[in-house]
Amino acid sequence: MSGSEAPGGTWQKPRASLAPGAAALVFATIYLIALLAAERQSIIIGLLGLAIVVVLGANWLGWLVPVSRSFADREDALAALAVVGAVAIAAFFRDNHFSLLLVVTVLLYTVATLGLNVQFGYAGVLNFAGASFFGIGAYTSAVLNAHTAVPHILVLLIGGMLAALVGSLLLLPVLRTRGHYAAVVTIAFALLFKTFLEVNDVLGGPQGMPVKGMTILGWPFNDNVIIGRLDLSFYINYFAVSLVLLVGSFILVRRLERSWIGLNLDALRLDETAAACFGLDIARWKITAFLFGNFLIGIAGALYGMVGGFVAPNNYTFADSLILVSILLLGGIGNPWGVVIATIVVVVLPEKLQTIQEYRFLLYAVMVIAVLLFRPQGLLPRPVRRYFPRWRP
């Protein structure tokens, strides 16, 4: 945005062009395909360096302004294009188990972080037990798929609901405490949850338990898909469901933000006392945000349990919760697009950079500290709310 222009100036302008945003998405898709396809460490490091140079250079040349403007004005069309990009990536890696699993992981971690975003980004309730609620979803799949004939789509919903239900145990302490103290309550829960899993033999104890793969209407997800001469990795099934889940969650979170409820959550996060003086029921909206967020985290976890085929307490530790929180900090608190970008960075980077994999937590720490120092609002800061992006005063 040029210096003379007021921050809200775009409102009086005609709709921005689709082209810059579309171009950025096409570049991003090609880049991700190249990055995922690259095997040699030197090429991967080169590609990562290239990304940093290109983003900084584009920023310096002012090219990111038209991109963000076209995302602001043409979000629906660009979101559809982003879905096409994701499908293109999956199509490119159709027979590559490892790359597809990585893509599915990005999609489901994004869904979970969107849930955290509702809790922390909007309502200001910091949840340091994200991985635990993700784990509740995964264990729900493990138990229900093993012992019952509940349709697997329903299992996903039940996973979400159980995560919300167990989360409601935390509501009382979370509502009674504020800020950091509420965060400590969730940390305590994360530690308790892991211990509970470890001592519970029905759930497999420390060794964990296998999860039966997904089957929808008799379609087995864990078999490779063979269409004519095409032999697709079975992960393509999970990719399809994960993508649908992400699109649905993204739309829901977007609508939530762009509604009176989004306004309520912002109001109570920024000033509880003032909000109460205008009639906002603080507890009601904190509960809504917390359960809504947990529901998304639980659904993502339930599906991820089936994707991985195995659940164990060590996959749902406090450290994993910290990763989810760091994605949120990195991407831009309150901005779903930022969450998408940050999840790609946090999930893909250590998988591709084998050399640093042991130091991944160090890497996260460095990234979060760098962001907090140089760009405290995250990579993509949240813009002012637009209830209906196409609407003009």
Partner: protein, 257 residues
């Protein structure tokens, strides 16, 4: 003369400090009442107890004839009490429109299903609310009406105070509590804001205002009647000129013994 708000023997303590000491105070419908007194005399505490932020330790409050002692802030808002804060309490990252809509909370449809799934109906409600907010803003500050979707953070203090007053007015209160509206502003800005307040009163029927203020020029200009507090007790009451001449009041302010 109908009594709108009545506090009787209202008491509030903070540890050993008695912030409100058996205070009897009556606000009459449609008046502008000035609430004055030295720092720490209990003015803001009175607002906080009336709006339900603090609980009273003793005494009663009635509003519009109903007992509202111990009512929650939300209940007081529904009953028709709106306020501004001494230290501006806007949501700075949010737009002007968003901040005003916080005051409009009780008229907005709040159901989860409505907000997520009935976007068409939400859009209608949004448009109606936007027009109402814009009309309100235009009455006082036409320049601001074209900037409704800019964040509040970049605005000067006087505009922030105005937005706080808009946020309180959009609730269509019967009683408006203004807590030191001139704080942090120049004399010129204060004068402008007071013009606004007098205009509010002209344009709004059935609005009673209680204003806490240290600028005596403001009090003299806008109030019909004053109540002077000291150490949580009422020490004088009457038109400004009368209380300003009161010996006890002068002692309280100047510390003359």
């Amino acid at each position: 003369m109908n009594v709108l708000l009545e506090a009787s023997k209202l008491t509030r303590r903070f540890g050993g400090v008695v912030a409100l000491d058996q205070l009897d105070l009556t606000v009459v419908e449609n008046e502008i009442l000035g609430l004055i007194g030295p720092n720490g005399s209990g003015k803001t505490t009175f607002f906080n107890v009336v709006t339900g932020i603090y609980r009273a330790d003793g005494g009663t409050v009635t509003f519009g004839g109903a007992d509202v002692t111990g009512a929650s802030p939300q209940a007081m808002c529904r009953a028709g009490v709106s306020r501004t804060f001494q230290r501006s309490r806007l949501s700075l990252p949010l737009s002007i429109f968003d901040n005003i809509m916080i005051g409009n909370h009780k008229r907005l449809t709040q159901g989860l299903w409505f907000n997520l799934m009935r976007r068409g109906a939400l859009r209608q409600e949004f448009e109606v609310s936007y027009r109402a907010a814009r009309k309100l803003v235009e009455m006082f500050e036409p320049a601001m009406a074209d900037r409704m979707f800019e964040p509040v953070a970049g605005l000067p203090m006087i505009d922030r105070r105005r937005i706080e007053i808009f946020r309180a007015l959009v609730n269509r209160p019967r009683l408006l509590l203004l807590d030191e509206p001139s704080a942090g502003m120049t004399h010129e800005e204060t004068r402008e804001l007071m013009d606004d307040i007098l205009q509010v009163r002209e344009l709004t029927r059935n609005l009673t205002i209680v204003i806490v203020e240290h600028e005596m020029g403001v009090i003299e200009r806008v109030t019909d009647r004053c109540v002077v507090l000291n150490f949580g007790r009422k020490i004088a009451e009457g038109p400004y000129r009368q209380v300003a001449a009161d010996r006890q009041v002068q002692e309280a302010y100047l510390g003359v013994v």
